[in-house]
């Protein structure tokens, strides 16, 4: 579904990504881990061109991602942010329906129905007409996920979705992500939640020094880390 070849990105003189190759298949739940500053968030943000790659290719659904039709690509590549980035001036329902309606994918009443259905699924239907700042962090993040889902994306990108949450709210967000993964949604997650990676991911990618160092199913990933850097990393986070 997504084919990344030789992806490069630098900031000023610092080369963060030094040629990342990665293939993400339909139905994959890929978790990206690595020491902070290793470029995993940058990699994720390059996928939908929130960061402009300096080199390499990203093939999405058989077509190269370019700036030219980036808006179309993004409609099918949902993104969930660390800080939720809900629109504070719009109600929860409007947050969810704005993009599908503005892009002409749905009529307002259809979109409303779909929004209510999705909100019902996460048990927040009663919050449809409130504003985001009345919600807890966990509720905000779950609504941000629903907002991305309302576009019926082919893949969801998660950029540290639980890092800004109070510990007691991490569970509800991870639970929703698990549910999505089990439902067959293709997901790429940058996260520090090793429990989630172990339980839900079918592949864990260790990025270090700007390249993919390890790409393995979780069992092998944790059981016998051959890479020295990965060993050092795991000994710190586990």
């Amino acid at each position: 579904m997504i084919d990344v070849k030789g992806l490069k990105k630098s900031y000023g003189g610092l080369q963060v990504l030094k040629g990342v190759d990665l293939t993400i298949n339909k139905g994959d739940c890929v978790v990206l881990v690595g020491p902070s500053g290793c470029g995993k968030s940058t990699f994720l943000r390059c996928l939908n061109h929130l960061e402009e790659p300096d080199g390499g290719h990203i093939i999405f659904n058989g077509k190269e991602v370019t700036d030219h039709d980036i808006d179309h690509v993004r409609q099918k590549m949902g993104m969930v942010f660390q800080h939720f980035n809900l629109f504070p001036h719009l109600t929860v329902k409007k947050n969810i329906t704005l993009a599908p309606v503005r892009l002409g994918l749905m009529k307002q009443d259809e979109a409303d129905k779909r929004a209510m259905e999705l909100l019902g699924r996460i048990g927040l239907a009663d919050k449809a007409d409130t504003y985001p700042n009345m919600l807890s962090g966990g509720q905000k993040q779950r609504i941000a996920i629903v907002r991305a889902l309302a576009m019926n994306p082919d893949v969801l990108l998660f950029d540290e979705p639980t890092s800004a949450l109070d510990p007691e709210m991490v569970g509800e967000v991870l639970e929703l992500m698990k549910e999505l993964a089990r439902g067959g949604m293709t997901m790429v997650c940058v996260t520090h939640e090793m429990g989630f990676a172990r339980e839900v991911a079918n592949r864990i990618i260790f990025i270090d020094e700007g390249v993919v160092k390890v790409d393995k199913p979780p069992k092998e990933f944790f059981a016998n880390p051959e890479n020295e850097r990965l060993k050092a990393f795991l000994s710190k986070v586990l």
Binding site: L50, E52, M77, M79, N85
Partner: protein, 255 residues
């Protein structure tokens, strides 16, 4: 009262000295009541408000355009600079620099004596000059408001597949308005006071009316104090309205 004024005026003409109270009364009557002079002040206030309103609208329109150009230019991705936008951005920057770097009074004189030297409509030329001046300041207010919105909002909008313009109008601008409006209110008050400057090019607003009366009575104190009082009352009125409006905004922030 009129009879009293006539009687006292006769006394002055015959060279008699008036008491403080009588003197006060004569000058006050001359400045505001004689041959219904207060109507000239009222007309002046009307023009002042009209000029302020025209200048504000012009300033906001100009300022919004300039701010959009400058923010749009700044938010382009590196290596993807649009040439047309670059040219507009350069023009916008020169405009802001020149207007903010030269005195308002000089700009007014240039507008009336150089650019529109043949125009007799001094009031409108003044309003135009004020509006152009205000646009530079308003553009910075709007630019600041747009830049103050969390960059994550633009990313969230774009990540949903909305294009730059739609994200700007649906997501960024509605949030920026909350910080822009109070500052615009201040700009309105500044304009209201600065509109008195167009007197020097013959704009017929409040201060102009006072000067006309001063020139006939040779008595500056009451017309000037009267004008000052009118400005003060107007500014206090609008400040109170603004404060009320800001409280409303703050309230809807807390929802």
């Amino acid at each position: 009262m009129e009879a009293q004024f006539e009687a006292l005026s006769e006394l002055v003409k015959s060279g008699q000295k008036l008491s403080f109270g009588q003197d006060f009364f004569v000058k006050f009557y001359q400045a505001f009541l004689y041959s219904d002079r207060w109507q000239q002040y009222i007309k002046g206030v009307g023009t002042t408000l009209l000029v302020t309103a025209i200048a504000l609208v012009l300033g906001v329109v100009l300022g919004a355009i300039v701010a959009m150009i400058r923010v749009g230019h700044a938010q382009q991705k590196p290596h993807h600079h649009n040439l047309v936008l670059g040219v507009f951005n350069a023009i916008a920057k020169v405009y802001v620099t020149v207007i903010r770097g030269t005195p308002m009074m000089v700009q007014l004189l240039i507008m009336s004596m150089v650019v529109f030297a043949s125009s007799r409509n001094f009031t409108m030329v003044g309003a135009l000059a004020l509006g152009i001046n205000s646009g530079a300041y308003v553009s910075e207010i709007i630019r600041g408001g747009l830049m103050a919105v969390d960059p994550g909002q633009m990313e969230a909008g774009r990540s949903l597949g909305l294009n730059y313009m739609t994200t700007m109008f649906e997501i960024i601008i509605p949030q920026a308005i909350r910080s822009i409006l109070p500052a615009l209110g201040n700009e309105f008050i500044m304009l209201l006071k600065d509109s008195s400057l167009i007197t020097v090019i013959g704009g017929k607003e409040l201060l102009y009316a006072a000067q006309g009366i001063m020139n006939r009575t040779y008595e500056p104190m009451f017309p000037l104090l009267g004008v000052a009082a009118v400005y003060l009352v107007l500014v206090m009125l609008f400040s109170a309205l603004l404060a009320k409006f800001e409280r409303r905004l703050a309230q809807s922030d807390r929802r």
